[in-house]
């Protein structure tokens, strides 16, 4: 089995691409988590499918920018529908999420099936959005990820304190005169963009794991925001690198699922370390 050096262009593309996705998705996930809206990320991941299908119908090539726009529009529509349902019905949040998730996803599948039967070829591959297709990342994809990822990280970096406080005590921040609704929609939009590029790596089905698991694991280890974000980012990067590496070990290995497997390992480890620390803290408190 031959090994490949780090300067191999394929590997470079894949590493840069997945690290960018891992980093931006996990950090954006911090704020969904703090707002207790992690599950909405799952709904949006699934809701994006019809957006991609429709975008493909308009422009027959698989141009990543066009597909991104389609995905973002679908993501926004899903968000608006969920918000509308929340305001106008007595349904609980988890029911609303389930409804929107399945309805949009089903629409996506219908559109994919229609495309499959009618298109003049080169269309198979839209279903790769279900599980991601890291091996097929091109330079164009990586440029796009860099652009979007950098923008997301910038926004989060600047506004993280505000987002944090608003997630903690919405009413108080309103009384201080902050535009809470506006900031919350920025967080939503960042989530949608992170998901739209993230599904290229891990696919629709596993995307929400990339949003939730890094921050959930970090939360088991700390309660300070700075440390939380640092650990989350590290977990996002490590899982991207680890998953990519593991997928090079043998032929026909999918990358997306391996990234999630690494995350699951990190979550397990964090759980045990967290429990261990609280045990020793307990003992220290007892003795001290």
């Amino acid at each position: 089995m031959s090994s490949y050096s780090i300067i191999d262009p394929t590997l470079q593309r894949i590493v840069i691409g997945t690290v960018l996705i891992g980093l931006s998705a996990s950090l954006v996930g911090v704020f969904s988590f703090l707002r207790k809206k992690s599950l909405i990320g799952d709904a949006i991941s699934h809701a994006i499918l019809p957006g991609i299908a429709v975008a493909y119908l308009f422009i027959e090539t698989k141009n990543p920018v066009v597909l991104l726009i389609g995905a973002v529009i679908a993501g926004w529509l899903a968000t608006i529908v969920m918000g509308g349902l929340q305001r106008t019905t007595k349904l609980k949040e988890d029911s609303i999420i389930a409804i929107v998730l399945s309805a949009f996803f089903a629409l996506g599948l219908v559109l994919l099936s229609w495309i499959q039967g009618h298109s003049n070829g080169s269309q198979s591959g839209l279903s790769d959005f279900l599980f991601g297709k890291v091996a097929a990342l091109t330079n164009q994809d990586v440029y796009l990820f860099t652009l979007v990822g950098a923008a997301l990280l910038l926004i989060i970096g600047i506004k993280k304190r505000l987002f944090y406080y608003i997630a903690f005590d919405r009413d108080y921040m309103t009384t201080r005169g902050f535009s809470v609704r506006w900031n919350e929609s920025i967080v939503s939009t960042c989530s949608i963009f992170a998901i739209a590029i993230g599904i290229q790596a891990v696919g629709v089905v596993l995307m929400s794991a990339l949003l939730i698991i890094p921050v959930a694991s970090a939360r088991m280890l700390t309660y300070r925001l700075g440390t939380l974000m640092l650990l989350t980012g590290i977990f996002g990067v490590v899982s991207a690198l680890g998953g990519s590496y593991l997928s090079t070990l043998s032929a026909n290995m999918p990358t997306g699922p391996w990234i999630i497997m690494v995350l699951a390992g990190i979550a397990l480890l964090s759980f045990f370390i967290g429990k261990l620390r609280s045990k020793t803290n307990h003992q220290k408190a007892k003795l001290g």
Partner: protein, 299 residues
């Protein structure tokens, strides 16, 4: 109201009996099989294709309208060897109530190629071995002749003409590829559809994805293929009409980064024919197009 309903019911019944008096409907799974069957069965039969031009049979999910078409058919002909990956159960069910033939069942044992070294799965792209394929089509035609003895003579005659014409053409095409130096005589495509093709027409074959398009290429597959292309200095690689070219683009970019310029030599027809008026609208045209494209790309 009752009159209208009754009229509708009886009206429908009249239609179906009319159909029975007309030509028998033969539904073929792929456009390739449909083209062959059309040539052999002529106007005496109503030959239909389930999958249109450019449709990928590996990942094809039958819709309710497809199931209806199959259920209303008189005869069904499909490829077999799991080419129509998601329809195996459906064909099995249909076989219980009407004549259903898999061309693969008549394919000679010694011509079969394994899909991979590790499994017992047979590579289903058997139409790329023209002489054996046509013999198998002939055997399916014989079955139809037995079912419709009044049309048997026409079938036999048309088949012999078609077989001769096709085989003559194929043998002529065989020599086309021999002028490419052996080091570069490698056909690299999106998915592994060309083993039979390579064996018959004398060219080495490699692919990014496995035998089925539903199998994802992994990172290692891309790495190994890029190395191979750069080492052997392959001039062109080929995409397919029915398969997404995205992974191939990634391969090309990596080769270019490594200093070896490789192009897309063209688009080949693999699992389906092209549209009627394209240069790949029939079985013979499709293979001719492939050979021409490959030889131009690699010379």
């Amino acid at each position: 109201m009752i009159c209208c309903t009754l009229l509708l019911v009886f009206g429908c019944k009249v239609d179906s009996t009319q159909q029975n008096n007309e030509r028998p409907v033969v539904v073929c799974s792929t456009s390739i099989i449909a083209d062959n069957m059309q040539a052999v069965l002529g106007n005496e039969f109503d030959v239909r294709s389930l999958m249109g031009p450019g449709v990928d049979p590996h990942s094809y999910n039958p819709r309710p309208s497809d199931v209806q078409l199959l259920q209303n058919a008189d005869v069904i002909v499909y490829n077999g060897f799991h080419l129509e990956g998601k329809m195996a159960d459906l064909f099995h069910q249909l076989a219980a109530s009407k004549p259903t033939f898999a061309v693969a069942d008549y394919f000679p044992e010694n011509q079969k190629i394994s899909a991979s070294k590790t499994t017992n799965v047979i590579d289903p792209h058997i139409w790329f071995t023209p002489e054996s394929w046509l013999k198998s089509i002939g055997k399916v035609a014989d079955q139809l002749a037995t079912l419709y003895p009044e049309k048997a003579a026409g079938i036999k005659q048309r088949f012999e003409l078609y077989q001769k014409k096709s085989v003559d053409e194929m043998i002529a095409l065989k020599s086309e590829l021999s002028t490419i130096p052996s080091e570069q005589r490698v056909l690299i495509t999106s998915h592994d559809a060309f083993h039979y093709f390579g064996k018959y027409f004398g060219i080495e074959v490699r692919a990014l994805q496995g035998v089925s398009t539903t199998q994802e290429p992994g990172v290692r597959d891309v790495l190994e293929l890029v190395d191979f292309i750069v080492k052997r200095k392959i001039k062109s690689i080929f995409i397919e009409h029915s398969v997404s070219p995205k992974s191939i683009q990634a391969v090309i970019e990596s080769c270019n980064s490594k200093g070896h310029k490789v192009n897309i030599g063209g688009t080949l027809y693999s699992d389906a024919l092209g549209a009627q008026n394209s240069d790949g609208g029939t079985y013979i045209e499709m293979i001719r197009h492939n050979i021409t494209t490959i030889s131009t790309g690699l010379k």
